[in-house]
Symmetry: C2
């Protein structure tokens, strides 16, 4: 009798391979199949994080997706990209999907989860998110006591970002990329620029921390974040 | 010549000992002194999470603090509680401070950090936060694409909670405890009750998931969270 394989979505953390959890490492090493996302023209970041832990005998499954894909396009692409993973599960092989950061926090794993959760057993392992890694890398206490924290994707309209920033104690602005100038200008208008900290690729070997006004807008990657720590004093 | 010790603030994650990172485990095992917070009448949760990893030869330093302490009171207590830790550092001994979840995300470690960062070298290790662990334990994809996420401490006034919930795509309401009824009533008024999920002590052996309207308000612990996942469909 053929028993179905089990799907694991494991958070591999923000970049430093040592920020993997013990659980993620155990499941990763035990899995016969390891799947991960890769932009067509680049190495997979998630695979890079765990490269040293792979056994060398694992089947690897890539799914190709442009970054910052619009949801409607993502849906049809995922309907197709999920097939090789489902085939391994149907054949009885466990599959570990590598997820940058945390799987359910702005993670593309959720597209796989919703497509496979009716038919297969799925276990998800939370990971260290960039939301926690960036303030730590910047050395700034982030939120405390009864602070409100708002997480804002930079592609949102300027009015929406402004309204939200006016109403919160602390914020993280993610997915900066080509939206950097818009965000920086808002922060200046709101008097938040002096509190805002900019960081790229936190905990990776290429991590960079740059004063907000010295950032070259043409060079801001998708994996950059502006952290606005609480103004409240400890 | 006496070299000062180094201070490490390590996130030990939400409760499951396997959700410690590899880095936190390495630093924990190497430290001659391990410090942690404990309410005066209870075992330390953070120490319980890592108990199996302690070497048995480490000096343990407790600092006593009531939970949900008001900032003004916390300041004077920390001025005093920091002393034994500073004494170990001054004597050249490294000290690891155990932090539930992540150190800079509503963590009491920040009080130690601000008091010791001028005089001692400090390294902080981000951890898996309950903000990630709760949606995963509930099995609900949390935020995706350009969702706005708002993190709200339950002690905030009802008007503030209401305003914030009306303006966001996804939310986490933390530190529920005796504020549960107020929050539940707001969620019903806003039509969010059917989307809201309640969880206590995520990833711990005592984890409980209860339908919102079956929760006994008298029994809600401090470490309970209501997760409102995005309504957007994947």
């Amino acid at each position: 009798m053929n028993t179905k394989g089990r799907l694991y979505g494991i958070g591999v953390g923000p970049g430093d391979p040592e920020l993997l959890t013990l659980k993620a490492l155990r499941l990763l090493r035990a899995a016969p199949v390891v799947a991960y996302q890769s932009a067509t023209d680049r190495e997979s970041i998630a695979r890079g994080i765990v490269a040293q832990y792979l056994t060398g005998e694992q089947i690897e499954v890539l799914f190709h997706l442009p970054r910052a894909l619009e949801p409607e396009k993502a849906k049809s692409i995922y309907d197709k990209e999920v097939e090789p993973i489902a085939a391994h599960l149907a054949a009885g092989r466990d599959v570990v999907v590598l997820c940058e950061g945390d799987p359910f926090f702005y993670g593309s794993f959720m597209y796989l989860f919703t497509r496979l959760c009716d038919e297969y057993q799925i276990e998800v392992v939370p990971g260290v998110s960039s939301l926690m890694a960036c303030p730590v890398a910047l050395g700034v206490p982030f939120t405390y006591y009864n602070d409100i924290l708002t997480v804002l994707p930079a592609p949102l309209p300027a009015e929406e970002l402004t309204t939200q920033l006016l109403m919160t104690d602390a914020a993280a602005i993610m997915k900066l990329g080509r939206h950097f100038t818009k965000v920086r200008d808002i922060l200046h208008k709101l008097g938040l620029a002096s509190r805002a900290r900019y960081i790229e690729r936190a905990t990776m070997t290429q991590q960079r921390i740059i004063p907000l006004d010295e950032v070259d807008p043409a060079q801001v990657p998708y994996f950059a974040m502006i952290v606005i720590p609480t103004k409240n004093r400890l």
